[in-house]
Symmetry: C2
């Protein structure tokens, strides 16, 4: 049997993974959810046909979306996570004893249910008593919060479909208000290599810059995402992610990671000229 999952990275570039078998195919209220088993990448979650998580390289994404802000400010206690239904972001956050409270707001309860059943490697922390789950729209949730969080992580889908609102000016402004004076906002920021998302991510970056005094972009090598050159946004009221990093302090925590380290933290903010130019161009 020859079963392949194919994602169109553009209309003219495709990435295909050999599938052993399909475990789940379900239409939720918000999106189509599929889970596959593969030999090369282990279990794979897709939403509306777009690859979200593979067992082989999810550690890269989850390391970079959590440890970069946590190492920048090791005093983070209260965190809001938007999206992230697979649980991987919360799993990494729970490794910090300093974190006392995580609110996680996922629009689609089905994603959490299915992740708990089929993706235990990411979902294992979701029953921890520090985690408070809300199944609602993150865009609406954050409107009513003020000065409450040390860190907001926006672990969204792409800038269309259910996640579209999480790239708007209104949303970033509400995140600013929901954060306290030490607050950091980190979001998944797509790739700039293919022109399909480049324009909308440039707009998103400009909107974040309009809302926060500090707004930077950092990158990671995520082989199963389009182009493999994935970006994250780091915005904050006070902390500079490179200048304020205390590498010794983070290394003393003894958190063992497979991708992240404090040298790479600094290196991740050194983005190529062509990406900088695209982000800053008029």
């Amino acid at each position: 049997m020859d079963l392949w999952y194919t994602e169109n990275h553009t209309e003219e570039a495709r990435f295909s993974i050999k599938i052993d078998r399909q475990l789940v195919s379900r239409q939720s209220e918000f999106q189509r959810i599929d889970i596959f088993e593969s030999r090369e990448f282990g279990r794979i979650l897709t939403l509306d046909g777009y690859l979200m998580v593979t067992e082989k390289d999810e550690f890269i994404y989850h390391d970079m979306i959590t440890h970069v802000p946590m190492a920048t400010n090791p005093n983070i206690k209260k965190v809001l996570v938007i999206g992230a239904g697979d649980g991987g972001t919360v799993r990494e956050l729970l490794r910090y004893d300093s974190i006392t409270h995580i609110d996680m707001v996922e629009i689609d309860e089905e994603v959490v249910k299915l992740s708990k059943e089929y993706l235990p490697f990411t979902a294992k922390g979701l029953t921890d008593e520090r985690v408070h789950l809300f199944f609602e729209d993150g865009l609406k949730y954050v409107r009513h919060k003020e000065g409450e969080y040390d860190l907001i992580i926006v672990d969204s889908t792409d800038p269309f479909g259910p996640g579209e609102g999480l790239f708007t000016k209104e949303f970033y402004g509400n995140c600013y208000r929901a954060l306290n004076e030490e607050g950091i906002l980190v979001n998944q920021h797509e790739s700039m290599y293919y022109s399909s998302y480049a324009a909308s991510m440039k707009r998103a970056h400009q909107r974040i810059k309009d809302s926060f005094p500090i707004a930077k972009i950092y990158q990671a090598h995520i082989p199963t995402y389009p182009s493999g050159h994935w970006l994250f946004g780091f915005a904050s009221k006070k902390y500079d992610p490179v200048g304020d990093l205390d590498a010794g302090l983070w290394n003393n925590l003894g958190i063992k990671t497979r991708y992240y380290n404090t040298d790479l933290h600094v290196g991740a903010f050194a983005i190529p000229n062509y990406v900088k130019e695209q982000l800053e161009s008029e």
Copy 2:
């Protein structure tokens, strides 16, 4: 018409590019050479079916294989380039006025001929008077050289087929002897993400470490190469690529690059833990 070029990154992962038309398909003495035209990636060169160069992202590879050693030692004058038939590496080297002499040793004259005809964007420097072309086996060429070069760049194909000898202990030892006391060796080092090459590249890295007192690995985001997380080897008799970088000096040269910059130079050497562990494991 629906014409696609597909490369198997492993038996279970494929990358496919929509092709507008095929411009060349030729069997040389050493390998099969194909050149395609595509809308997303421009012109594409493949050897034995493996993607070598695309017009869209060749600048990333060529920036990183040349500017990293050149910024580490701005006094480099005499360079040996092995492989690199498309001409992109020589094109970047020629931007340095300090370089007075480039020997380029390419085993397959057909690759150079066809690149001059179909890939003028990379091949344009090959007729420069500072460039001396030799169509022979780099492995043999380097055996008879002693203390002659400031820099050797090994811009090879994969560690099998015609390029196989360029990953051996004998070859690295001969490169050491061919370099002067200031000498630097840079080589393309594949990716560690898929297990297919990981073992042979770990061996290659150990061999380079056995031959040179300084041996490091650095990385770049090259979307059209397997995994997009591409590695390069940096070995030298004297220079540390991070400690000895004089960023101000390089920036004063005024060389405009689309990928490389001196912050990224430092960041490129901050490789993920899982790659370090694979390279250093027993």
